[in-house]
Symmetry: D4
Subunit: 217 residues, 8 copies
């Protein structure tokens, strides 16, 4: 288990991270962490390692792209002074290219995505020792599908940045691919993006394995 006593872990991302968390600050009582993978991660951390006193904060916001993260990085990440930071962004960057093809000002193409995400990692590197980068994903098993194909390329960008900047890398698309061998996408997410609890368990397990969570504890 990589987390140390009293450490603070901040999650940031889009609607998959948000999941109806408390606003403006996603921390504390009354399901403030939302009802997605962040909540599952926290529940397992607290119940398996109650002695550690890990502090989990959810800063995901629905509809965000990497541009939106850039706008709020100072307030929502830097000022939080996290010991651990987990970033999962890019789904909307890609999705808008496919569901709103004419509204091009909403598209974040791959070069901009790469530049902005790199910049965010660099900015946080100074104060945050541990950064986890999770790929965006599309719950579609056909990798010839146009949007899945683009999403895979954005995932490659995440992988490259993680390697270069010494982050922990979590390949969420790969985690979903394994489940999609047995399950059709519609049983996890009607729109192939917003997962039900099964999909959030896929994400939570991928994250917990990456931080070497001990399931037997």
């Amino acid at each position: 288990m990589l987390l140390k006593p009293k450490q603070k872990l901040v999650f940031i991302g889009d609607s998959v991270t948000d999941c109806d968390r408390a606003k403006p600050h996603g921390e504390g009582l009354f399901q403030a962490l939302g009802n997605g993978y962040v909540s599952i991660v926290d529940a397992f951390l607290q119940s398996s390692y109650p002695e550690l006193g890990i502090r989990v904060v959810n800063k995901g916001t629905s509809g965000n792209t990497v541009r939106d993260l850039t706008d709020r990085w100072e307030e929502d990440v830097i000022e939080q002074k996290p010991d651990w930071l987990s970033v999962m962004i890019g789904i909307n960057d890609v999705w808008r290219q496919y569901d709103s093809p004419m509204q091009i000002e909403q598209h974040v193409y791959i070069e901009e995505y790469k530049d902005k995400l790199t910049e965010l990692v660099v900015r946080s590197r100074k104060n945050t020792e541990n950064i986890v980068l999770m790929t965006p994903f599309f719950i579609e098993p056909n990798n010839q599908d146009a949007m899945r194909n683009t999403m895979d390329q954005y995932g490659e960008v995440v992988k490259a940045i993680a390697n270069e900047h010494d982050c922990i890398f979590v390949n969420t698309q790969e985690a979903f691919n394994k489940v999609l061998e047995d399950l059709y996408p519609a049983s996890i997410a009607w729109d192939r993006v917003h997962p039900n609890q099964t999909g959030h368990a896929v994400l939570a397990k991928a994250f917990l394995r990456a931080i070497e969570f001990d399931w037997q504890k």
Copy 2:
């Protein structure tokens, strides 16, 4: 892992099981299993064993005592023809004795509790191969507390029935006790009964261990 392909697993109980599940039938899309331990159990079963096609149904109802279960056992349990059945009941049987001391017709004392729960197990034994009995619990570390003390006695009854009728036994109180060594009750449940996600993770893990779930899968 004790569950076999295509098996059906029914949960029954009170508000801790219910957790805003779909009514009248707690199964299927759109968070129909509620947002408590049943949902976590299902999410881990589906994401770790997608090839099994396990079918999970939530039949918990808020406020129920063992008397209420008796009234609806035929329709909500027998007619479901479950391969696996999990029962967690007794919290309200005890709680009403402490929060509504004058309304004695709402109290279910320990002899009636034992008789009725035994009868339910016997009725289901004919058609259901696997029965899991989970103890009721009170998220209070002081075992000299009057209500905690009573709850422990009801837990002993559950244990005895499980032994006698060859059920899998899950000691939820014990699972909570371990966490309570480090956490104060109010951080898990303001009323010491309805847990937050941390508490539901305690319950889900206790159940999953009992069915020999493989966390590495």
Copy 3:
């Protein structure tokens, strides 16, 4: 234009037909026909052929399969005594096999689908001169996708019944395929089933062409 003065045209189907129509009777003022393709068909009939006095009724109901149509055929179709009847059913018959794979009692497999739909056509043949059969569809361009593939087979069943029973046949999947050469599915329907107005225009145009609507009128 095949419709004659004062004729009555009844549409029946699932949520794609329903589109929030008035209940229990979808006819008349205040957007009673819903906001989908039925409404567009009616608006074009009334505005282009006001002298005909065509009467349009929407009897679609969300979530329906061919089983549900069978249950309400007498009241919702036969008793309406339509001159024209349009049926589009089958999406939920297929979808439940893919989004709820364990709840097999909700699946309507192809043999049952064929038998029930044939029976409905035969029952209405006696009193209704003109029957239009529209295929179910899945807004997915990849015909190797499992659900699209199944949907195509159900579409073939519809075609065969139309041929055998002298109905007008509308291939909605083909109509969507043409549009999907230029548009990604997410721009028409996030869940690839419930279309936006563009998708409903695809359906309305396919229907209007089948009844030889004169666009220049």
Copy 4:
């Protein structure tokens, strides 16, 4: 078909254009274009010419007169940089003279109407190649009716401006008159102003014909 690939088409007007569009910007997913003629026009453009990628924006606002358009022309029209602009205004300019005769500050008389509308066309002419001017209308067949009579005069003003400034002219009153030969006004609009879908189809068809839409495509 007069529209070219990737062109942007902006509609502006009053409640007949608005029809519950998204605010502040009427474009994109989730029925953002409202449920009136703009939505029908868009649905036919996208479904018949998906390869063109036409971008449609709805800037109609309920209750507006030509005065209100003047106030928001810079932000809602000029800044949009449309290739095509469609304007339908004047109903409220006239209506207030008849339903609120004492509140004269709400009346926009014909001279002011002519001046302001001319000014708007002139302002947009510099940047927008194609301007469509649609007349206001009153769904009343009796042209001796006082309000209908006034509305006809405003329609004449629109025609004159269109001629002078080389705009495409759409005579919506004429389009309604044809339908009113067979239908009583109350079957299209209870208040003779806000049409149902039949009335919006009249408007959409008149617009689509003006831009030489190919119905056979």
Copy 5:
């Protein structure tokens, strides 16, 4: 003033009478008489003749035709044992012919209207000494308008029945015509049927004059 101490006056009719009255019984405190002409009549009776103790009951129901009155005449009129009865019906009988021309089962043509209204008057004649028949109306000054023309014919029927059966006759159309010399219909009722308070004052004054109300009292 024709009303005597302690007499009971029942109004029956459609939405113009109903005006959001209390259901099922329109009498008593808290604006139970609705907000239309019935309420104005009652307010003037009570404030000018407080010593009489007149009892006013509103039994109007939105959407009613003479057919609906027939169905509920026993319960809503006969059982009330009114000393005075006021009937204003027929607007919907005519309106449906014009706003829903294809739904002919909703039309009440003039012969049926005459027969049914006559029958109702005859049934009430035995127990109710004073019957007031008010014509239906259409707030449209052009008597060549198709619906206005039909409404006038129904008004003639009411007049004939009143003469033959010795009822007090109130010509509401005539009362509105006088006001329409100066006011355009839209300033009284957007749909030319449901009046604002000015229109209800027209109706209330016509009724009060018919019962020889003393305005100077």
Copy 6:
């Protein structure tokens, strides 16, 4: 009839005047004048004198005392430039002394009342030819009742100001007293302040008589 063609009549006061009028401006369609005496006055003016085109505006605000009127007199009265102005204020000035005896900062005692009301009349005198002053009232027949007694004194102040400043005087208390000879207060107003429609008719008739309204017209 004292009002002349095209004149504007503004009512100002407290909740008895307000009666849920449109905010911020109480004029025009959709019951903007509220549902109290102002609405009745307007309805009778428009229906009996449609040729005059009288413009009625309601500026009553619930809970107001003469202090509140002073604060908003410029905007709500002077800027309206009324030809006629009707003021009814004072109920809350007195009522707070009786229902909130300890909150003395909410009490407006008789000297302040007299000074402020006089000042308002003087300010409006310059631009408004016709001012109607209506007394406050308390629907209590016992003039020895403490609050009724105080209200009578405020009414005397109103009378004196009207005399001195040449205003039309309306004694609403006297109008109510006449009705209270036959009706118990609870049948007009449960709290003896907010009247039902009978009470509002009392007020409307008193006002209409003061302006020499011709009831026979």
Copy 7:
């Protein structure tokens, strides 16, 4: 203190007793006793005599007269088997005579009131040892007021029945009269019937004194 350990005390009456209690059964957690005098009585009994375990039930229902109590006496009183019963009824019996003078079928005159209340006491006498009769009241200091005068007569009836049938008598009017020497009615109840918390304290104290509650305990 007259109440003994484990005794059950049932309150019945109208809206003053009801005060938004839980329906159908007014007992237990979550403010089930409503927010009036019954709740205050219970709170003082439980906090001063926690060792007694007194059980309090609220069966008041808004709008009730003694007729309504008669209809539900078996179910709401007899079946409850109370050791103590408190009845306060009559306000609506009198009030309807004054606020709805023409609706005479809603009036319960004094003879009927006396007969019905006597009958209820007799029926309960067999099973209930202790009966408290509270007078109805009217928060009006002027005993020449018509409604107050009538209410006093009903109070006399209550007194007579209490004497004859050996009940504890509580004169609520007298209790209010004392307070009304210093407070104007509007500061306790705007409608002189439904008291605020001060008025409910008056009622609670009168009741508690009648059962010899020890305030020093």
Copy 8:
């Protein structure tokens, strides 16, 4: 009785004081004092001493700690110029340490609590003659419970400040302890903090005794 005629009594504190009081000012009609102990105290003061005209104001705010009081002391206490001030604060200062152990910025430890509370008393001492300090409490009978133990220490601080600064001291914990000898905590407060009416009666009685309220009056 220590309070004198016309004195003003202000209560300040957290949710136990707040109890849904009117915002921003908790005084006057319509249950503005909330539904907790403040309302009971006021109701008894007004009903037993109506001649005194005591003015009670509730300034409690849910969730407040002594830090929040410091922030709003000037506006909510000093500017009120109370003759009497009652302060009950500290529950949240302690609770957050136990229900949100990781969010340390929300914890108010005992030194800060002592300093801030002392400062507030000193600031008010100049203008307010009478100050009542009520201890915070925890409705838990086990004084070895961690949170109860901490709360007792904060109570000791209150006692010391009261002694030093000549305030009236109310030991609410002691008042609850007495009741807890007979009642289990859950019957007073499910979360052991927010009491039902029984608990608020405990608080109100403790306060009233401290000000030498005469229960026999």
